[in-house]
Symmetry: C2
Subunit: 236 residues, 2 copies
DNA sequence: TTACTGCAAACTGTCAACAGAATACAGTGC
DNA sequence: GCACTGTATTCTGTTGACAGTTTGCAGTAA
């Protein structure tokens, strides 16, 4: 019961709604550019329009939705240029984390990262994107976590969520995995050596490399994901 | 009249309110941790509570306000640790801008930055913080602008706004100006040489240097700003 | 005097309803 | 058949009101 009381105090209806709608958005429930009907959402969640509107305003501020006066809220549509811009921001945050971590990383953390590198290497050899993808996420997340700056971590995570809205991106070619993991090794090597500048540089270059891997093939084939929820992945 | 119509279409009541309230907050109208009464705000702006609530949700998402269930909205209180974290994020964004700019900067932009450096140098010699401060802002803003990434620029600006909430910081000592401008010169030199890594490194180090200039003296004297709206400045 | 209890006022959370704008569609003229 | 106009519908923007919670205060007992 104690736990339930605490739940009621910390999680208001609005905050629950917010989380719920965010999950819905990130799960691909709505198509890019699709309009969200406030009334429908209100009925769907069995609440009135007030809380729905508040949640939409918050998510719009976060960059997941778009507000058009007198027309309503729309799923944010992220074009190639906007995605490219987001990559630059993400690169800066990731580089910051790497640089901060370089001066304080512990041997245990290095070996944990090494372990991830090895497991990713296996996935590369098996040419298994399905195995590589979650390890890649964990690798990046670990660096952010080890950096020990919760605000930086939060900003990075939100940026990754925002990038998920960019669905018109190409699937990664097999060769990308090899390159990606080589870059990973370079980052860990710099971290292990305590070289802040090199770590920052490698981290930044890695994300930018992912950006070019992502946008270049997309220009050649932009129709592949229309009408489906093709599982696109993001190796950076 | 054309302009007025366009104004009505693009700026809804909520968006105007949002800007207004944000200005109020950043101007120091409310003390850190102070509670904002929804009804008072509604009366003050002659609107109902609905729009006020939506605006507050948006500004809370942005990090300027804090929401406590069943108790209301409060001015966000930023402690020293949080401010330190924000500096790291800011450093990453600024470094990203510097690195991106290094590969595309034009001679005209370099000379514009040089001009700012010279004018800051004058302010340093005159030991005039009042002259130095706006030039310093313009210097940083110019680099973000020249970098040509609007999203990065926006993220940086919002972070600076968020940092403004940290009022318990010390005024800058005179010596800081000299150091700060030396760091500025190092950034511009790297940019002019087209050295992306050096530019990124110098930019990151500069913001972190500003962070230590900010937090160290504050630890020695944390009571200086109580009860007043002392004009504190932020040299980084 | 101090601590506790109970009540009252104030405020937030939520809802339902109204006004105005945008959209879709039927009707009319060419 | 096609473009245009006027109307009806739908949806957003905003408001006022009610329910539940928190806060402040007066009253009481130790």
């Amino acid at each position: 019961m104690r736990a339930e009381l605490e739940f009621l105090q910390n999680h208001s209806l609005t905050s629950v709604l917010r989380r719920e709608l965010e999950t819905l958005i990130l799960s691909g429930e709505f198509a890019p550019g699709e309009r969200l009907n406030e009334n429908s959402l209100a009925i769907r969640f069995s609440v009135s329009r007030g809380p729905i509107r508040e949640v939409c305003r918050a998510l719009a501020e976060k960059g997941l939705l778009e507000l058009v006066p007198n027309r309503g809220v729309f799923m944010r549509r992220i074009g190639e240029e906007q995605a490219a811009e987001l990559y630059d921001v993400r690169a800066g945050l990731f580089a910051s984390a790497a640089r901060l971590l370089a001066t304080k990383v512990t041997p245990e953390q290095i070996s944990e990262l090494q372990s991830l590198l090895d497991r990713m290497e296996e996935a590369v050899l098996a040419n298994s994107l399905d195995n590589y993808y979650p390890l890649n996420l964990e690798f990046h997340d670990s660096i952010l976590r080890f950096a020990g700056n919760s605000r930086l971590h939060k900003a990075y995570s939100e940026l990754v969520k925002e990038l998920h809205l960019f669905r018109e991106r190409a699937l990664l070619q097999g060769g990308g995995l090899t390159v990606s993991n080589i870059e990973h090794r370079r980052i860990v090597a710099a971290l292990g050596a305590g070289d802040a500048t090199a770590a920052m540089d490698a981290a930044f270059a890695h994300v930018l490399s992912g950006k070019s891997r992502m946008t270049l093939p997309a220009a050649a084939d932009t129709e592949h994901s229309i009408g489906g929820t093709a599982k696109t992945t993001d190796i950076a």
